[in-house]
Amino acid sequence: MEYFDRFAIPHPSPAIYASMVAIGLTVIAILIGLTYFKKWGYLWREWLTTVDHKKIGILYLISALLMLFRGGVDALMMRAQTAVPDNTLLDAQHYNEVFTTHGVVMIIFMAMPFIYALMNFVVPLQIGARDVAFPRLNALSFWLFFMGAMLFNISFVVGGSPDAGWTSYFPLAGNDFSQSVGTNYYLLSIQIAGIGTLISGINFMTTIFKMRAPGMKLMKMPMFTWTALITNAIVVFAFPVLTVTLLLGTMDRLFGTHIFSMTNGGMDMLWANLFWVWGHPEVYILILPAFGIYSEVVSTFSQRNLYGYKSMVASIVIISFFSFLVWTHHFFTMGQGPLTNSIFSITTMAIAIPTGIKIFNWLLTMRKGKIKFTVPMLYTVGFIPIFTIGGVTGVMLGMASADYQYHNTMFLVAHFHYTIIPGVVFAMLAGLTYWWPKMFGFMLNERIGKWAFWFIMIGFNVTFFPMFFTGLDGQARRMYTYSEATGFGPLNMLSFVGAIGLAIGFAIIVYNVYYSTRYASRDIGTDPWNARTLEWATQTPVQSYNFARTPHVNSIEAFWDHKKKGQPLFKGEIEKIHMPNNSGVPFIMSCIFFVWGFSFVFSMWIPAIITTIAIFACMAHRSFEKDDGHYISVEEIEATEKNSEVLADENR
């Protein structure tokens, strides 16, 4: 039995036991449901083995929404705990675990898959491609991410959650101060998900470089595709840093090296340094696709072309390079000299310039536009002022000497939520509402969507604005409680009230999905928003091959010019289309990765060795496999396109 003691929870509580039971029951319910409704074959054929970028996008989307729920519950628990002084809802250990998992889940397992959900679905359509460059690797990316997320999420019922903060600084995260396996979960699960992300980065860069429709030069790409390209370039160069950092952390925790330790020459500050070498570019990985979405939305609903296309492109390229030059501003107070702090202070402020250019471009796009305040547009318009508050407080934090006052206070927490929530969450909700009809063939209800927007917008500000004040008053972040004498009580209670508003907003979105699924009209045509880019030029729902005939592009807004000026978009006859075959290997390989990660977390070396060999066996299998894909015949395409207005439109 001693062997199994390692799987026990170090700090159990009734809530965790209840979660265990709930997880067990849910798994049993899913298994029984799949068997009862005979859906196993459907699940395997249509989803687990799919290499279709659109389905993978939807898989990412579902995972991201699940993780949003999980991270949101963590957030509510934190706000509830700090709502009143000397609260005992959570003890210190649980609070540590909750803020750690909140950060990791929201950044790595919610925001990342959300942007990859939209990139997967939209980018190949926007560039007129059949799929991504490496469809099989795309499936592998998703399943690695998914298994990483699952591994992280079982931590709180098997062995204990990580509790050293989402930044997991050493020496706190070392074996001496974090004795449970929680930090092992952190290291291994992010490693697995990170490998998946890196593969996606390579995949999308190659796709965008090589698979654009004829005539779509780089400077004729839609803005979302531009941001996707640059984002993936940052992924390719930033994620290897994370890989190595996590590897070194794993070496320290599992193999007794002294890289980040306090003894034998180790340097704990090196972790903070390497973490942020990845961590700061990661911020821009999250924010750039959001900028792309806002650009698409603002131009569609202002009904005019994007203002300053070239300066938009220039600013994202500059941001991508600068994002690698500012990482020290996350630890100005660590003890390096004034020279270093000055250099990074200046680069930090410089990066605000290209971001400012973009803000003005959006404002100038709206100027003289015929603005339609749809739900995506509301999120965009809401984003601009609150993101600016986030940006300006960022410049405040970027002043190294002033940072000594703000560092690690709630002011910082308020700042980064003011950038990430409008910058990522609003953008994702805007993008989701905007592309929802293309994904599912019906529109989300506008009226319910606006209710959700206002709850989220107001709830967000009520939650996070008070934190600027408590932070300046000296409330430190990650403090599980405080005494009444500090006077932080009322503002924290206000934050809690705001958090409930946010929660209601998200609940309304869930209701909206349910409501619209049941009642929304299915007869929406291919282009319900009167949009401007190629993804709206094909049928809804999109066929597996995306476009029956390859589009030909000769302007930035090819589809718009096609609609307004009658420029021909599709030329020539329908030809047979080559498509990749489905494969179960990515899913199976990722399951093996899950076991591999689990074995390392608990230092179980025999399964670790077996699974390592199995992973390489999967790769060898792929090397020897002959898989040339399949063709979709002309007759088949014509049959599916028969009712499509796209063809009818052409023949007119």
Partner: protein
């Protein structure tokens, strides 16, 4: 599959071109992977705790043998790709086989080197310096090990299927990988060993 005969076989199809560009981008990521290890190594180089310093444990002879083995293997795989391009299947397979044998010899010397370090009291757990040294060398060595298996699979496939766009593409990409490992080794040789012994 459309095959474009105006280009070398490994660029012959659209998918082949995608594979090659994708692999170059992967190599860009590998640059950052090793750069992070180097950044760590340089930071911890002199933080030796109670363990030995680099100058005390590095030996020129095995390092020089490793360097020559890897440099030569990089040369022979270049010749292998050249033979492939002029359609000499057997010569190509011979060059690839020589490359893998040189790689295997490199790995043998590296294993000797590691046992030597442990023997003289510079094991993984001794100090920050030894930990990062062995992790960096080990990461490179693991890449070489993966490369040996990969190269073997490719030789088997060329033997079975001959020089097709698919096998030529795989062979060319493998050669990129192998050259890249040599580039990394040059930096290890210069900035870990020679700098340490200087």
């Amino acid at each position: 599959m459309k095959i474009d005969n105006s280009l070398p076989l490994e660029y012959g199809t659209e998918q082949n071109k995608l594979n090659i560009l994708g692999f170059w981008i992967f190599l860009g990521a590998e640059v950052m992977l090793f750069a992070t290890l180097f950044a760590t190594y340089f930071t911890l180089e002199h933080r030796i705790g109670n363990g030995p310093a680099g100058a005390e444990i590095f030996e020129l002879t095995p390092v020089l043998i490793e360097t020559l083995l890897l440099l030569t293997s990089s040369f022979t795989i270049g010749l292998g790709v050249h033979a492939m391009r002029i359609g000499k299947k057997n010569a190509m397979m011979t060059f690839f086989a020589i490359t893998l044998l040189l790689g295997l010899a490199f790995l043998g010397v590296e294993i000797y080197e590691f046992t030597h370090y442990v023997h003289v009291g510079a094991g993984l757990q001794v100090s920050a310096f030894t930990g990062v040294l062995l992790t960096t060398l080990g990461t490179h060595g693991a890449h070489v090990t993966v490369g040996l298996f990969w190269g073997l699979f490719i030789i088997l496939q060329v033997k079975k299927h001959g020089l097709t766009p698919a096998t030529a593409n795989k062979s060319f990409i493998f050669s990129l990988y192998w050259h890249f490992l040599d580039v990394v080794w040059i930096f290890i040789f210069s900035f870990i060993y020679l700098k340490g012994m200087m």
